[in-house]
């Protein structure tokens, strides 16, 4: 399927994105990579332009919960983007461990999954969304 891969608004990290682009491509997905520091508006624009089957957000700078929330709310505010699956993962807070309250807030805002840095979980999330296909 077609995946839109993006960094979050305040996150400049690139290697996570370079790696995920290769990883997702090797799983057989078509990947559109937006690069780092994509704000919510740019993300929504890109979703309209590319009509992806899923959006993968990666954040490792500690602002992931906050930036991810803004991104998901912006996508869900638009009827055309209300249903596109969105998953966020990486290192999302400054504390170095998952924060339950922040995770719950992201899920309530319409994020379909909040992952850490476990790539098997990402693979599983995407496999579950491949229509009628056998996951790679």
């Amino acid at each position: 399927m077609k995946i839109l891969l993006s960094g979050t608004a305040s996150d400049s990290h690139t290697w996570n994105l370079v790696y995920l682009q290769l990883f997702l491509g090797e799983l057989g997905h078509e990947v559109v990579g937006l690069g780092p520091c994509v704000d919510a508006e740019e993300l929504a624009d890109a979703c309209r332009r590319h009509a992806p089957d899923a959006v993968v957000l990666s954040s490792v700078n500690g602002h992931g919960y906050r930036d991810g929330l803004a991104a998901v709310r912006r996508l869900r505010a638009e009827p055309a983007l209300a249903a596109v699956p969105v998953v966020i993962g990486g290192k999302l807070g400054v504390a170095g461990r998952p924060q339950e309250t922040e995770t719950a807030r992201l899920l309530r805002a319409g994020c379909d999954a909040v992952l850490g840095d476990d790539l098997d979980a990402l693979r599983g999330f995407l496999a579950a969304r491949v229509h009628g296909g056998v996951p790679a």
């Binding site: 400049s12 690139t14 290769l22 090797e26 780092p36």
Partner: protein
């Protein structure tokens, strides 16, 4: 602010004359009290230290509204929002701390640093870092031409805000770029070109950065090339030193691996004649380090540097600079190619990227050509797998197509060497015992790419 003031560059030069390596942490807290406590502890460390005030990511990308909202919410930020807290708050946090024995550098990572420069000068500071290319291409989406214009204005703002006796200082981050898998020739060239750019915009004291890479011998050659090219290309009267960064790629997860890599970087700094070292901590692979972890890293690095002995004489017939080596030749070619485009680097740098004459490997920025690629060769040296349109050759070794696993292996080349426990991962360089090894809980085992 204190009346007695010494410039950042003069502080490093005086330490070098006394045979001391200046060590500096990365450190930034949103709360002014925590920020002050961090600087106090840095100053009190058993080492010759410079302080760091790292700005948060919202301020870095110019989203001052988000920084203000986060401060208002009491949210924990990953740095100090210098353009959000009033100047009086920042001045109070620095009062009695910054003086001739302890300069503080503002670190940020912004492609549009004018607001940060205004805020730091309003708070009485005058040292910062970055660059029109190095804080643009690897770290965001700001068009290169806009970053170049913003950096020109920021340098002029800083140069114009001079207080009596002060010499504003700007460090180029050009020797770091994406932190890993960029062969040294391009890192050295960009450091020199950015410092030339700063000088063209009124800055009279600069530092040239280089980040420790995968091979100690190649790294030493690179730092020496950087010093030689800086002396050659920077205008007379521009004060300069080299700042080395402890490895910036995927960092060892074990305390012994992290400590040994830090110590190796301190010895590299001394061996190659760098004046300053930006350290990493044993917590680096896991989270933002605490003040305590930073202080321990500063003291470990200072102890390793003190034990390293004097550097080899660089200029003798048998000295390591005698023939210069391939890093020097590659960097010189890149610098001269860019300067041939236009004497004004505000025009030459964007033109060089537009024509593919400079090309940062793995960089996803729209203004980067994206046709170059680095690899780690079997000896552990960084080489070019592809150079795109740059005026330098790719290495003869045939590069396999890039895969996720291959990239991960290259990104983890150093971490593997240091986290496993051979007696000495430095290929034969003498290594004194680790100054401090702290036992910590085992690291999480999941795959992380940062």
């Amino acid at each position: 602010m204190t009346a007695r003031h010494v410039s950042f560059g003069a502080f490093v030069a005086a330490a070098a004359d006394a045979g001391r390596l200046v060590v500096q942490p990365r450190m930034g807290f949103g709360d002014p009290r925590l920020m002050r406590a961090g600087l106090e502890r840095t100053r009190a460390a058993t080492a010759t230290t410079a302080g760091t005030l790292t700005v948060d990511s919202y301020t870095r990308v110019g989203d001052l509204a988000a920084a203000r909202a986060a401060v208002a919410d009491g949210a924990r930020l990953n740095g100090y929002p210098i353009a959000t807290h009033p100047a009086a708050v920042t001045r109070a946090l620095l009062a009695g701390l910054v003086d001739e024995g302890f300069p503080v550098q503002v670190r940020h990572g912004s492609a549009r640093p004018e607001a940060i420069v205004r805020a730091l000068t309003a708070a009485g500071l005058d040292a910062t870092e970055g660059g029109p290319v190095s804080y643009c291409l690897p770290y965001g989406r700001t068009p290169l031409r806009r970053s170049v214009a913003a950096w020109a204005r920021a340098c002029e703002l800083l140069a114009g805000a001079v207080r009596p006796g002060a010499v504003p200082h700007v460090e180029s981050f050009g020797g770091c770029l994406l932190g890993q898998l960029c062969p040294p020739g391009l890192l050295v060239a960009l450091s020199v070109l950015e410092c030339l750019f700063f000088a063209q915009h009124g800055i009279r004291s600069v530092s040239l950065s280089y980040a420790q890479q995968t091979h100690p011998g190649q790294d030493e050659e690179a730092v020496r090339a950087l010093r030689r090219l800086a002396a050659e290309f920077l205008p007379a009267g521009v004060d300069h030193h080299v700042v080395l960064y402890t490895y910036m790629g995927v960092y060892p997860r074990t305390p012994h691996g992290a400590t040994r890599l830090l110590e190796a970087s301190a010895r590299l700094a001394v061996r190659s004649g760098a004046g300053r070292l930006i350290v990493k901590t044993t917590a680096e692979a896991h989270r933002i380090p605490t003040v305590e972890e930073n202080v321990r890293a500063l003291e470990t690095a200072a102890a390793a540097a003190a034990l390293a002995g004097p550097p080899a004489a660089p200029d003798g017939p048998d000295g390591p600079d005698a023939d210069g080596g391939e890093v020097l030749a590659e960097a010189r070619t890149l610098i001269e190619t860019v300067l041939d485009l236009d004497d004004d680097l505000s025009r030459a740098l964007p033109a060089a990227f537009a024509r593919g004459l400079l090309d940062v490997p793995f960089c996803l920025h729209p203004d980067n050509p994206g046709r170059s690629r680095g690899l780690v060769d079997p000896t552990g040296r960084l080489r070019w797998a592809a150079t795109g349109g740059m005026p330098i050759g790719a290495d003869a070794t045939t590069a396999a197509p890039l895969t996720a696993d291959g990239l991960l292996a290259a990104l983890h080349h150093v971490v593997r060497r240091y986290d496993s426990a051979p007696p000495n991962p430095e290929d034969g360089h003498a290594r004194p015992p680790a100054a401090r090894l702290t036992v910590r809980p085992p690291a999480p085992t999941s795959t992380t790419v940062t």
